[in-house]
């Protein structure tokens, strides 16, 4: 009876997955095999392996990597400090609140902040420096992306750091481990799940960023997301757009496997011990 009811309640879930996860992926795969006139072809895949798209793939990965690393470097200590504070839920809230504001709105705000007549350049000129071109550089692109993604990194890390038994750290220190050694051998391994979840939540969307590449980087940075947008909306070459999307899906799948696999192993080992 129990299992019957269980499988019945799963039906909506299966329908959902079939309609909104599996069907779209199949459609994307199907479209990627069509040329402009709707005939079957592998041309799009051939096209992907030309210098333009390979270079674009590399630069997408490179920027996604930098964004993820910076997010991680800021978020880990931040999450740790917040978890030790008295009003930690309040502090967490303060970090989450900006993500309630529309992304486009925040991006436009940065155009104003980074602009020639913006506050940063006003500050630079009052302390005697020359005005700098900040907007439309890769640095401003990375800065804004990091700003946008940081909550997604802090949240999972905070959850795992918060659950961490503080006694373990004290024990490690008592037993003579240095602070660095404790962090490296006790704290990081125990919060690995949070770190991995954070990396997934940042790296994967960062790979397919678009809009910001135009508004903040002025197209000085081109990612795979930009190319997909252009293929669908401007060129109307749905085949090529889908092909790029197929590769993005493959890349993301690989990342999920890399960041998820060890967890399973560990789980298995734990089960074995139990």
């Amino acid at each position: 009876m129990q299992s019957k009811r269980g499988s019945l309640t799963l039906v909506p879930y299966y329908i959902w997955i079939a309609l909104f996860v599996i069907a779209p992926i199949i459609l994307v795969g199907y479209y990627s095999l069509l040329d402009l006139d709707g005939h079957f072809t592998l041309e799009n895949y051939q096209n992907f392996f030309t210098p333009v798209y390979l270079k674009m793939t590399l630069s997408s990965f490179w920027y996604a990597f930098i964004i993820t690393v910076i997010c991680l470097l800021i978020s880990y200590p931040a999450a740790f400090i917040i978890s030790r504070l008295k009003n930690k839920q309040l502090w967490l809230m303060l970090i989450i609140i900006p993500s309630w504001i529309n992304l486009l709105l925040k991006t436009y705000a940065f155009i104003g902040i980074f602009g020639q007549s913006g506050p940063i350049n006003a500050f630079l000129s009052t302390i005697g420096f020359e005005k700098q071109q900040i907007l439309f550089t890769s640095v401003s692109f990375i800065f804004v992306s990091v700003y946008i993604f940081i909550p997604f990194m802090i949240l999972p890390i905070f959850n795992s750091v918060d659950k961490l038994n503080r006694g373990l750290l004290d024990a490690s220190r008592d037993l003579g481990a240095s602070r660095l050694y404790t962090i490296r051998r006790v704290m990081i391994p125990l919060t690995m799940d949070g770190i991995k979840a954070g990396i997934q939540a940042v790296f994967i969307p960062a790979l397919s960023l678009f809009m910001i590449t135009r508004l903040i980087a002025g197209n000085h940075v081109i990612t795979l997301g930009t190319a997909i947008e252009q293929q669908f909306l401007v060129t109307q070459n749905w085949g090529m757009g889908s092909t790029i999307a197929v590769f993005l899906i493959i890349f993301m799948f690989i990342i999920m496997v890399i960041t998820g696999e060890q967890k399973k192993k560990k789980g298995a080992a734990r089960n074995g011990k139990n």
Partner: protein, 358 residues
């Protein structure tokens, strides 16, 4: 569990209430029966007061929706599920829509105000006899620049001045393949509608040489950036330039001598129209001299309506930057629909250029 049930019921109640409200709003809107006219237009491209006036005069309720690119518009019309009665695409898109059989013919006998349109703007290649389209606005592509910010004196009578070394990191371009590649083609005295791949490659190579000078390739944000003085030079459309100059007096707009693009936006009746009669009334209403003048004043682009020209500020209508003489117009060319494949090539080359930006 109890809380969960309570929450679920609350959500259900809210959903039902919302459905009810939207339903009743819909019936309110369609109370006038078939007297609804759905207009699909570019953003910021009509004086809203005119829509009110039209509603008052005809009793037809106007539903107004906007798009931001010809391609997005055509995709939406093509996929159906919409009932736009009026759309305002550019000329090469009209060619495309005609090919795809997405338009209804326009009945000229229902549009007496057609006589107000300057004959030069009628019977053009993209739509002979204006069987499917009626001119709305026209304009050019050119260069807007801020004289006070230029370190070297340039007047942009030639496109080649954009390549000047003194403009390092100072040029803004629009994020549109045909405008940017077209500018490069024009600078080498080639046609905007070039389809020869080696010539297109040449134009791309020349653009790649421009990349050190490019500050950014962006969209409508150009207006704000130029007004704020973030950049001294931008490639842009005449109407957008008019907006900028309105807010910043140091700006000037010019169309280089080698020639440039001349474009037309036209009113069409998509096949999905449910109120063809109302659509004709709307077109006729927009061609009324007074209405056309009011609209041109608000939007800032050039009107093809010669009767309306007389009502506009002579300072604007005698300004060659907005209303170039027939002689200058000879050097300006209209985009042709080059077909999906060539457009794809243009965009691939444009992408290559954008990838060369450091």
């Amino acid at each position: 569990m109890k809380n969960l049930v309570k929450a679920s019921i609350a959500i259900l109640v809210v959903c039902v209430a919302l459905i009810f409200i939207t339903k009743s709003l819909d019936t309110n809107a369609s109370k006038s029966g078939k007297n609804i006219l759905t207009v699909y237009n570019w953003g910021e491209y009509i004086d809203p007061a005119l829509l009110k006036k039209f509603e008052k005069e005809t009793g037809i309720h106007v539903v107004y929706e906007t798009f931001d690119s010809n391609e997005a518009m055509i995709t939406k019309v093509e996929q159906g599920g919409t009932n736009y009665d009026i759309a305002i695409p550019s000329e090469y898109t009209i060619e495309q829509m005609k090919e795809k059989d997405l338009l209804l013919p326009v009945d000229h006998s229902k549009i007496p105000n057609l006589k107000n349109i300057e004959p030069d703007f009628l019977n053009l290649d993209f739509d002979k006899n204006n069987s499917y389209s009626i001119p709305y606005f026209w304009g050019t592509v050119g260069i807007v620049y801020n004289e006070k910010m230029l370190t070297k004196k340039l007047d942009f009578t030639s496109w080649d001045q954009l390549w000047d070394p003194s403009l390092k990191g100072k040029v803004l371009l629009v994020d549109s393949a045909r405008e940017v590649l077209g500018m490069s083609l024009n600078s080498m005295n080639m046609s905007l509608n070039e389809t020869d791949s080696t010539k297109l490659q040449k134009a791309t190579d020349k653009l790649i040489d421009l990349s050190p000078n490019v500050q950014a390739v962006i969209g409508d944000e150009v207006t704000q950036l130029m007004v704020n003085g973030d950049a001294p030079v931008a490639l842009t459309w005449s109407g957008q330039a008019a907006d900028m100059m309105y807010d910043n007096e140091d700006l000037t707009y010019t169309v280089p001598d080698e020639g440039s693009n001349l474009w037309f936006d036209n009113m069409v009746i998509p096949k999905t129209s449910k109120n063809v009669d109302g659509a004709h009334k709307f077109i006729n209403f927009m061609l009324d001299p007074e209405n056309a003048a009011q609209n041109a004043d608000y939007v800032g682009y050039s009107t093809p309506n010669k009767a309306a020209l007389k009502l506009l500020d002579p300072e604007v209508t005698s300004d060659e930057r907005y209303y170039p003489s027939a002689e200058v117009r000879k050097n300006l060319h209209v985009y042709k629909n080059l077909g999906k494949e060539k457009i794809g090539e243009y965009n691939e080359l444009f992408l290559k250029f954008k990838m060369s930006l450091k």
